[in-house]
Amino acid sequence: MDLLGLYNYWIVILLMMAGFYIVISCGNLVKKIIGLNIFQTSVFILFISMGKVSGGTAPILAEGITRFSNPLPHVLILTAIVVGVATTSLGLAIVVRIHETYNTVNEDEIHQQDEDAE
């Protein structure tokens, strides 16, 4: 089995999991968003990787080139990047508001404050 051909994917998965780990384990809300960012970016790499054709070029038509990489994943990922930045900005906006009302961005402290309030 030609495992070398999969090596590329595995690196991506490693990155992805690092991001995912940040999201679910970090108590800091900003860091969670950072984690989301990394997680998503790694997924993008996964998509783009599958679009690559060995020996192909960027999918811009020009004289004399017949082998192109697959443009469809590129399109999808363009959209996904935008979605990602949209999510990030909204998430950060919420973080800012949370900081204003709770004066902290640490999950445990917020939790503590909510419990004290009850």
């Binding site: 989301l36 997680f39 996964l46 959209t79 979605v83 909204l90 919420i94 009302t101």
Partner: protein, 492 residues
């Protein structure tokens, strides 16, 4: 124009959303939004009629044939969901005016309605589309607007609830994206119908199995299937009342529809239940969701939270029906999607009216409220009875089909479970009723008046519908059965 209705259904609210931003007057924006919602309800009605009489409608956006372009594909299953979403949207938007004025700062109201319309756009878009990636895009539209709306709640915990939902929702969406990506990788297509044709050839691969797993997990997050429901109770409890009603009645239902679409149409029954044995995973999760969440609901002191937990439990009924992997079970699930939307929508609207007058939905604040707001509480009781499954209510119809399905399978423990959780529903509903009807009113509550008519009418419209379809269920059941036939494909 009539053949463009499928796209207009989604694009009209999409166009209205930016329009809302351009105006300043809350009333004007509300009128536009409400009018739009009634228009799309009419469109959904016409579409359902078309689908029922002429079969599947396919609409090629941009004039590009699928699978190259994006296709809207309407059949009995998703047109029913479209009708649910736009119907709920119409009623809840009509209701929203006073409730939103009461709970949202005036200068942000136009923006709020813009988010509101975007949410509806997203939900409709997810439902109508026949393209897997398009699902993701519209899912994000609805999700982002939902996060924003939840964060608008008056309680500061609304912010943390919204953030939590944002993080979990984004993880879910990314999982869905991974799932779609893996499927694309193995088939080269994103169109659902095309995927359905090409998947069987590669369904043996580990990649496709993982794809199905990622899709399921991602969607389960959005459906709030136990144990991925953690975001839901807070989100529902602290969001503005109108938003809670809209979300509770539509958002999880749409996600569940997408799950059905992937399970049945795209992956096919053989793969989902034969290879993946999804039923074996869904069954215990549904059972635990039903039992645990109903019990948790009993101990809530905030009525909105109580109903939120009840929602998670009710989702258990829907997934339970799916896990039976039988036509009757699936009919029960689809019916419950429809029925639960009506009753939960009505219940949350009634709560919104209480919020409007009392300013709180904590249980101890509601003492003796039934005397002051008899119509509102009557609506709550009626909705609650439906949740319990009292005959002539829609809850009874769903329960009938679910029990019938369990009996067909000879699953007696499941029969008992359905019955037992209905009894748990009696307990949590009755706690509210006792406080509202039989406890002496507190001094604070003495000056409270009945909710205004513009809140009562929509509430009763939904409650009324939930009894109309409980007494004469021919329309909903026949559509649900057709939807089941369509989802099941040739296997039935």
């Amino acid at each position: 124009m009539i053949n463009h209705l499928p796209i207009l259904q989604v694009v009209i609210p999409l166009l209205v959303a930016p329009l809302c931003v351009l105006f300043r007057s809350p009333r004007l924006v509300w009128s536009i939004a409400a009018l739009t919602c009634w228009i799309i309800l009419v469109i959904a009605g016409v579409l359902l009629h078309e689908v029922l009489s002429n079969g599947v409608i396919s609409y090629e956006i941009g004039g590009w044939a699928a699978p190259w372009g994006i296709e809207y594909r309407l059949d009995e299953a998703n047109t029913l969901v479209l009708l649910i979403v736009s119907g709920i949207a119409a009623v809840v938007t009509s209701y929203a005016r006073l409730s939103v004025e009461h709970e949202i700062a005036e200068d942000t109201i136009p923006l709020f309605y813009s988010a509101w319309m975007l949410c509806i756009t997203g939900l409709l878009g997810i439902t109508a589309t026949g393209d897997a990636f398009n699902v993701f895009v519209f899912l994000e539209i609805s999700s982002l607007s939902t996060y924003a709306m939840i964060a608008m709640g008056k309680d500061r915990r609304a912010l943390t609830a919204s953030f939590q939902y944002l993080v979990m929702g984004t993880i879910g969406a990314t999982f869905i994206l991974i799932g779609i990506g893996l499927m694309y990788m193995m088939t080269g297509t994103l169109n659902m119908a095309d995927l359905a044709q090409r998947l069987p050839a590669v369904s043996d691969t580990r990649t496709i199995r993982a794809a199905a797993a990622f899709l399921t997990v991602g969607l389960s997050l959005k459906i709030a299937l136990l144990p991925l429901h953690l975001w839901l109770p807070n989100a529902y409890a602290y969001a503005p009342s109108a938003a809670t009603a809209l979300l509770a009645a539509t958002a999880t239902k749409v996600a569940l529809y997408v799950a059905l679409r992937f399970m049945f149409t795209v992956q096919g029954v053989d793969f989902t239940f034969g290879q993946m044995r999804l039923d074996l995973i869904l069954l215990p999760l549904s059972v635990v969701a039903l039992l645990a969440m109903s019990m948790v609901a009993i101990f809530q002191t905030n009525v909105k939270r109580l109903l939120a937990y009840s929602s998670v439990a009710q989702i258990g009924y829907m997934t339970l029906g799916i896990s039976m992997a039988s036509a009757t079970g699936l009919t029960g699930s689809i019916l419950h999607i429809f029925n639960h939307a009506l009753m939960k929508g009505g219940l949350f609207l009634a709560l919104g009216a209480i919020m409007y007058r009392v300013g709180s939905v904590e249980l101890d604040k509601l003492a003796g409220i039934a005397k002051r707001m008899p119509w509102t509480m009557a609506a709550f009781v009626a909705g609650g009875l439906s949740l319990i499954g009292v005959p002539t209510s829609v809850g009874f119809i769903s329960k009938w089909y679910l029990i019938l399905a369990a009996l067909e399978k000879g699953w007696w423990p499941v029969v008992m479970l359905i019955v037992f959780t209905s009894l748990l529903a009696v307990i949590y509903i009755w706690r509210v009723i006792e406080v509202a009807y039989f406890h002496a009113a507190t001094d604070e509550n003495s000056g409270i008046k009945e909710a205004p008519l513009s809140l009562l009418l929509p509430t009763w419209l939904l409650i009324g519908a939930s009894y109309y379809f409980g007494i004469d269920s021919s329309l909903s059941t026949s559509t649900a059965k057709l939807a089941v036939l369509r989802l099941w494909g040739g296997g039935l």
